[in-house]
Symmetry: C2
Subunit: 410 residues, 2 copies
């Protein structure tokens, strides 16, 4: 489960560990007009285990199509990532660009083309300025270092207000320690399934790609698939995990203690990244941890949570600090889930505003308003006597969202 | 099909005909704080044929539950409607209030309680100030007149900027003329299925309630179920049709010429009301008539249209007059419909901006920007070589939507 968000600012991103076997590069190659970092690379020392999850959108960007095919092999050595241009809806040229760029990286590394993956994020429908990228690649690779994850995180940002990195260390096997390091970019177009445009997870824990793929799917289902900013799903959503297997221990497999620990670590790292993505929702002032409890099944709880988290009327009420629980009831009622409205209980923080389907009173709403001044808080909806529950993260939508999205391209 | 919206202002509502057998009343009973009309009534001279469609939301307001039961009988004589309070999520008291109010109307008319229907719209979760309504009922009924449809239209408004009335006359049988008169309130919480919070249609064409119900369902499916403002569905959505059968002709039935004419008339009247609802979407600056063509089936076309019409990223781009067709492609890709992105063609008005899935060029986008300055325009998306199509109305979302919805209750 995603832990409760404590505040709306991310923790410092400067203290993250290195992961044995990986280097990171970042540069400004001129895709973004203002000299900001816009090209990054993740390099493994050798071909390593790789797993990926990609957008379910029918319209997939060229780098998504390419990387989906290449991840299938279970081995990869590099991921090149650009921001500022999605290379989506760019036709044959878009695919050609992605192939040429990854081929140049492969040549520089002396490996086969299909050992190199690519991801892109930014504006849809404009040709990639591929020559600028191609010229920047040799320098990008030669300047990659194990401790440059923060630069990489900045290079993949679009409308993000801050970079998003998260990490964890934990013991496995006989007194060995492994690291999981994650990096993501979010802000806008955030919605299951795949909650972020781009996320990458690196680890030195030993495993085959089949286990890595299963662990990644499990962890994403418990984190990124349970949050929303604006209900939109991108053409470019990509989550790639790589394991250098540099730590000398038994490969993780099945569901033994170390395997479970690794999955828990992935959930922690992706949960933290997901939290920061929602915090950084375009123009968001509040992050809501929504708990739907008393549901007949977890699936039912999740459906109700998603309807509430997606509702524009709920999001604007949160933005206006109005405990307008009626809009939550109305959204819940559209989930296709059977529940008795006369049994519903709703809490903002610890303040119960609805009991047995009706308002507790004006005083409770005034107290709820005070809760709603916080940058993040919990909202709990009890549907009835069921035992199942689900947690979901979402943010409000305010004027800044409109400003960003009405003018993003111009 | 909904006709193309010609401009963003409604036509004059002052010229609407009366419908033999119906009277309309309106008063300010003090639900709204500022002395605005907030209580209306539709009175038939006798028990008449009635049909209804109601919200599919699991959370239904008390008047919805009551009217759903009563419409089942196929006969009714009055509809009392209040604005300013939805009487939703109000528990046992809410149902008691609706019963007492309809009972008072029934007493005044000297008919059985279940001949009176009720509809409410406004804030959810606050007890109805039922005494104010009860005291106002005798005057409301005694002052009802055949030509007060405009007052009634104003009495059912909430955040609407203007009243919404539409009518049509057409011949049936042996040189007889019948009238269809519709009235609606919209603005916010507009989404299929049931696109408006409240709509009422009156006619003097002769028919039994079974035909009226079928005709209403058909017409709503072709109009109100094909438009969206914000993707939210209310607890109170209600469409009720009544026929006084005052015109002396064969009752309409089956699918003969007169029956088809009546359904066409209903489509015209509801289509016109639907168009005005979208025009009056909270803070809307632009109304888009979206045409999805070249689809494998009408259902597929409709699914793609709904995804595009609901997308916050599309709505904000429309608001910002940015021909950001990539967002439309991304939204279309989430419809669960199989199509080849490399075959897609997109037009703003007559300007083709995308051909074979890629941008035509900057000049075309500049031309499209000029189209997007219009208060209403057509967007056409051709998915591929299919023969099926669907039309859908939606509006943009701008700062005013946020202002209205962040502060609606306070």
């Amino acid at each position: 489960m995603v832990p409760l968000v404590e505040c709306c600012r991310p923790m410092s991103d400067s203290q993250h560990p290195t992961v044995t076997g990986f280097r990171f590069g970042a540069t400004a190659c001129g895709i973004k007009p203002d000299g900001q970092l816009d090209l990054g690379i993740i390099l493994a020392e050798d071909a390593v285990s790789v797993a990926g999850l990609f957008t379910k959108n029918r319209v997939k960007a060229a780098p998504v199509v390419l990387s989906m095919q290449r991840v299938e092999r279970g081995r990869a050595q590099a991921i090149v990532v650009n921001s500022g241009n999605a290379n989506a809806c760019t036709g044959a040229k878009g695919m050609e660009d992605a192939k040429v760029i990854t081929s140049i990286v492969a040549d520089e590394l002396g490996v086969a083309d299909d050992m190199v993956l690519m991801a892109s994020t930014g504006v849809i429908g404009q040709p990639l300025p591929s020559e600028r990228i191609e010229q920047a690649l040799p320098g990008l690779i030669s300047e990659a270092r194990p401790d440059r994850i923060d630069d990489f995180a900045r290079a993949i940002m679009t409308t993000d207000r801050w970079p998003k990195v998260s990490s964890i260390k934990f013991p496995i096997g006989f007194e060995k320690e492994v690291t999981v390091l994650g990096v993501a970019k979010g802000a806008g177009m955030i919605h299951p399934d795949l909650a972020t445009t781009l996320a990458f997870v690196l680890t030195d824990a030993p495993m085959h790609s089949s286990f890595l793929q299963r662990a990644l799917s499990t962890a994403v289902d418990r984190t990124f698939n349970r949050l929303t900013v604006d209900g939109c799903t991108s053409t470019n959503d990509t989550i790639i995990a790589m394991s250098s297997s540099a730590v000398d221990s038994e490969p993780l497999r099945g569901s033994d203690r170390d395997a479970r620990r690794f999955i828990d670590a992935l959930v922690d790292v992706l949960g933290e990244l997901g939290k920061r993505i929602v915090q950084d929702g375009e123009g968001a002032r509040h992050v809501i941890q929504l708990e739907v409890v008393g549901a007949p099944s977890e699936d039912a709880a999740l459906k109700v949570a998603e309807q509430i988290g997606r509702s524009m009327l709920v999001k604007t009420a949160i933005w206006g600090r109005d405990p307008n629980w009626g809009r939550m009831m109305a959204a819940a009622g559209m989930a296709g889930v059977a529940f008795d409205p006369d049994k519903v209980e709703i809490k903002f923080g610890k303040v119960t505003v609805v009991r047995d389907g009706v308002a507790v009173g004006r005083e409770a709403e005034d107290e709820a308003r005070r809760v709603m001044a916080e940058p993040s808080y919990r909202v709990q909806i009890k549907l009835g006597p069921g035992k199942a529950k689900a947690t979901y993260l979402f943010c409000d939508i305010g004027e800044e969202y409109l400003r960003i999205n009405a003018s993003y391209r111009s």
